[in-house]
Amino acid sequence: MRKKLFILLLTVLMVAVLAVGCSSGEEIGQNYNGTNNDSSEGETGEEEIVDIEVWSVNEGFKEIDSGSPLYEFIVDEIGVGVISPYVEWNGGKGYTNQLNMRIAAGEMPDMFLPYNGIEYDLAKNGAIEDLTDLLPEYAPNLWELIPDEVWDTVRTNDPTGEGRIYYIPAIRDYGITGGMIRQDWIDKLGLEMPTTQEEYVDVLRAFKNEDPNGNGMQDEIPTGGRENGRWMDHLFAMYGIAMFEGFPDWDIYDGELTNSAVTQNMRDALEFISELYAEGLIDQETFLNDKQAWDGKINSGLVGSYFHWTETVYDRLPQIEAGTGVKADLPVLPVPKVPGYEGFYSHEPTLGPQWVVKSGMEEEKLMATMKFLDNYANQENWEDMYYGVEGMHHKIIDGKRVLLPEDKSTQQVMDVIKAYNHFSLIDFKSNLLMEAVGEEQMEYVEQGIRNMEENQKYVKVIAGNGMPESVYNDYPDIRSNMIYQEYATKIILGEYPIEKFDEFVDRWYETGGEEVTQRARDWYDKLEK
């Protein structure tokens, strides 16, 4: 009652103000009517198609609404209607808030990406469906696709402690990140691919001093990374440090699961890297490089060695060529050997949760969700799902599907059906890469595929893989790596002597590291059982 009265009052006010005079009102009003009609009158398909609301990452593309081309495409492909409204992602922060507000309002989506550890609270509050028995029966494709040991991890992560499956994890069957190096520079300077740390440093030195890009200027950047000490994992990797895109991770050190940030390995690595910095072998602006700045340096052909997804050289190479005219060769850098250490690039086959399903849904909707999961995990559909809707995401040239450039104004968001990204499999990806490109780009893609395969020689699955975010609950400074980043950057820049590292370790344990480590070890023990 109060609500109605209020709206009435507001409307009267609005009308009064409108009457005062705004001539542009009419035209816009018509605009609304025009578009409202076609979106509200959805099509009712031949068989009854059940709609489910799905939320996941959307970096600015159009939503999926009933009756739209991608909606119809998914109905054809999967047999379920998917509605996915536009939710601003904004680095995950926007998404988390929106999701929480919708939950508070009692309108949780039917299936969604649980970001930032929210699955813990969801499961504890009984808000998400127990999938343990449903998946094997109704979504066998998905059940088979994900290896048993990954399901075991998911069971261990059940916050109720019952060993049930509450979420579907994303997976990767190959190590995706690794160091890379400019082979063409090495050849030009008459050097060899480095295998030890010493050789690697010599090569970096030569990159700096011997003008491998041949422009007569000492503008080469031997190696480096990005702000917050990220994307320079290759320098840490040789010390056997578990690390995820610059964030220290968990592995077995001295026989126990430990965060690599507080190990002797880290101390030695930081000391080494600070020497590189002092000698000018690391980009002096490393810790000020945002994505654009660092990518810009690599694309300008100035960087000798860097760390990233090894396959994406297919994107770098043409840019380096266009900018400098040089056909670069960017193979994987074998992890340089350091005496006393076993180096590796960290590999995380179990990624975070990809989907959770709302609990207490009607039978019909729950079955539709299962049907979606089953068909979406079916690899026979993946290629179609990669190319999306004809005319929107791809066009056909000479009978071959060719992707259209990304366009946020016309393309509907595809993440919901990107099973090939949620479950990345090396075989599927390399085939896809070969299929998807034309003659001209083949040479770049071939390097990418070579790197993918080559990189597997140097990767190791770290022991902390699959650990739930909830171990960090109540200790945000540990989770955000804030203390680590403060000390690591200052030590590398030479503002702190390496002895400060010991102070860091104490501080890390004091501000919650102790508790977090205990939880992490408990989790690991449980997993091992």
């Binding site: 508070a104 930032n116 989770r479 950057t489």
Partner: protein, 300 residues
């Protein structure tokens, strides 16, 4: 109470005029503000305010017991002081200067130019600050001309606060002049004419006419600003901060972001907000008293 009813009956049009605004404050400010009680709860989106457990001052205690609380408090106070001082003084001086320009087209041009940066978000302004101070950026190029070595100011602790102040002025000083310019336009021209007859120089006119006339407005602005003393603008600091400058730039707003907002700890975020508000309110009350004592104006 009888007095109020009498007053209401006599001056009823004033009460009618104030009614929409009052209703607005109740509906859009005070009713939602009631939600602040979650500061004393472990608020859960699943249970709502009615179902979430009460925890008393738990979140306030955990704020005060945070190991870096002192560092965060110190940074907030120092930077708050810098911000209030500079953001108060510089727009005032700029407005007085703009007011002195005789050439009217140039006056408008300068006003517009100074006002433009306000419309760019902090991501952009901070991004350009980083770019300008990079090795190949403007600042180091100029240093190079003088044979000076390059400096990476953005990662130096000692420069963080000056950069905070300068970028703040860069973005908002021009915007801040608008209200003064409006106030200046209210000054009776006869005052200047009389001063000219008395032979007062331009500088004297500024000191004895313009400045005193604009001061009450400035005092009000200051009082309105001081209430947000503890809130320095998350966007600005967050976009300028690097791990190398945490020690001098980590403030309540960035702290709440990583602990409260990013982790969806709404109760904790609200508790910190309440703490900031209480400090702000105390400052407003104190300065309002001072203002009433030493000038004749105040908020109430």
């Amino acid at each position: 109470m009888g007095k109020l009813t009498y007053n209401m009956r006599k001056y009823w049009p004033l009460y009618v005029m104030a009614l929409p605004g009052t209703l607005y404050f109740i509906l859009f400010k005070y009713i939602p503000l009631g939600g602040s009680v979650i500061a004393f709860q472990d608020y859960s989106v699943f249970k709502g305010i009615n179902g979430s457990p009460w925890v008393g001052f738990k979140h306030f205690t955990s704020l005060f017991e945070y190991p870096d609380f002192y560092r965060v408090l110190r940074n907030t106070l120092v930077m708050g002081f810098l911000r209030v001082t500079f953001m108060f003084a510089v727009p005032l001086i700029l407005a007085l200067m703009i007011n002195e320009i005789r050439h009217s087209l140039m006056k408008k041009g300068v006003q517009t130019a100074l006002y433009i940066p306000h419309f760019l978000s902090w991501v952009i302004i901070a991004g350009i600050a980083f770019e300008m101070t990079s090795l190949s950026g403007l600042v180091n190029t100029v240093r190079g001309w003088f044979g000076l070595e390059s400096m990476l100011y953005m990662q130096m602790e000692s420069y963080f606060r000056p950069i905070f102040v300068l970028t703040g002025l860069w973005k908002d000083a021009g915007w801040g002049t608008i209200i003064y310019l409006a106030a200046l336009s209210g000054i009776n021209p006869q005052l200047y004419e009389a001063a000219v007859v008395d032979g007062a120089s331009r500088l004297k006119q500024i000191l004895y006419i313009t400045f005193p006339m604009i001061l009450p407005t400035a005092a009000i602005l200051f009082l309105l600003d001081i209430g947000n003393f503890m809130e320095l603008g998350f966007e600005q600091v967050y976009n300028l901060l690097t791990p190398m400058t945490y020690s001098v730039g980590d403030i309540f707003d960035t702290y709440v972001f990583r602990t409260g907002i990013q982790q969806a700890q709404y109760s904790f975020a609200t508790a910190v907000g309440l703490f900031q508000a209480v400090v702000g309110m105390v400052l407003v009350i104190v300065f309002n008293k001072l203002s009433k004592k030493y000038s004749n104006g105040g908020l109430w």
